[in-house]
């Protein structure tokens, strides 16, 4: 995904590791809080302490898993940037597949291949959806040049004179020679 707020390589590896840990710990903590709350005995005190205990027990583990994934992914991504001398979605897809394969290495070759396939497919989906969403939402945050702003202002004044604008009621007669 084209995120312009990220650090350049190789510092991106450290930042992605920390960011992934935070994301996993917070997200996992939220889900574990809900699960612990529901599994605790009746009574508000028991439920709150159950949720807190579950968060303390497992959010670090979830964060650690996310951190390992993020660090491996980012290291491979930076290596691809170095060798290919390009930054495009294919880097992310290849990095996702390779990360999935590497982190499943202990469980055998077949599991490596399926995990690599899942990682690549998931990153392809992320890149694809990211491209689509950015294409549709980018216009909302487009910078407006001063010339275009003046043109909009003049158009708004003309609409007020013709009585088309809903703002016309709040203005008196406008001297058109001021434009």
């Amino acid at each position: 995904m084209a995120e312009y707020g990220r650090e350049p390589c190789p510092f991106r590896i450290v930042e992605d590791c920390g960011g992934a840990f935070a994301m996993g710990a917070l997200g996992g903590g939220a889900f574990q809080a809900i699960k612990g709350f529901r599994n605790a005995p009746s009574g508000l005190g028991y439920r709150l302490s159950g949720g807190l205990a579950a968060v303390r027990a497992r959010s670090g583990l979830v964060g650690g898993n996310f951190a390992v994934w993020g660090a491996t992914f980012s290291a491979i991504d930076c290596s691809l940037v170095y060798f290919r001398k390009k930054e495009d979605p294919w880097n992310a897809i290849i990095s996702g597949a390779t990360t999935g394969g590497i982190l499943a290495a202990r469980t055998g070759l077949t599991s490596m291949l399926s995990s690599a396939l899942v990682g690549g497919a998931l990153l392809a989906l992320i890149e694809g959806v990211g491209i689509v969403v950015s294409h549709y939402s980018a216009d909302s945050y487009r910078q407006v040049s001063p010339v275009e702003r003046q043109q909009r202002y003049k158009q708004e004044l003309l609409r007020q004179q013709k009585g088309v604008s809903p703002l016309a009621a709040t203005y008196g007669e406008i001297d058109s020679s001021a434009l």
Partner: protein
């Protein structure tokens, strides 16, 4: 001519806007991945017809919710 700033104010997306976009992206990715992987698993179990649609639909919504939550949190961290 002085230009009014209230009617045409331009400011970047707020943190909450970015998190909403992150959730949308995550929800779409989660739904799509739920459809692909959930559909594959369901077909391998031999589900057909209404049972297949129900199972895949549930998997899609679960995947979308989970992935959307994580993406929103990740986007919030990077604000």
């Amino acid at each position: 001519m002085p230009l009014p700033t209230s009617s045409f104010s331009q400011q970047g997306p707020t943190c909450f806007d970015k998190m909403k976009t992150g959730f949308i992206i995550g929800f779409c990715v989660g739904m799509a991945s739920g459809a692909v992987f959930g559909g594959f698993s369901a077909l391998r179990y031999g589900l057909r017809g209404r049972e297949l649609i129900n199972n895949v639909g549930k998997t899609m919504v679960q995947g979308g919710g989970t992935f959307g939550t994580f993406m929103a949190i990740g986007t919030g961290i990077r604000c």
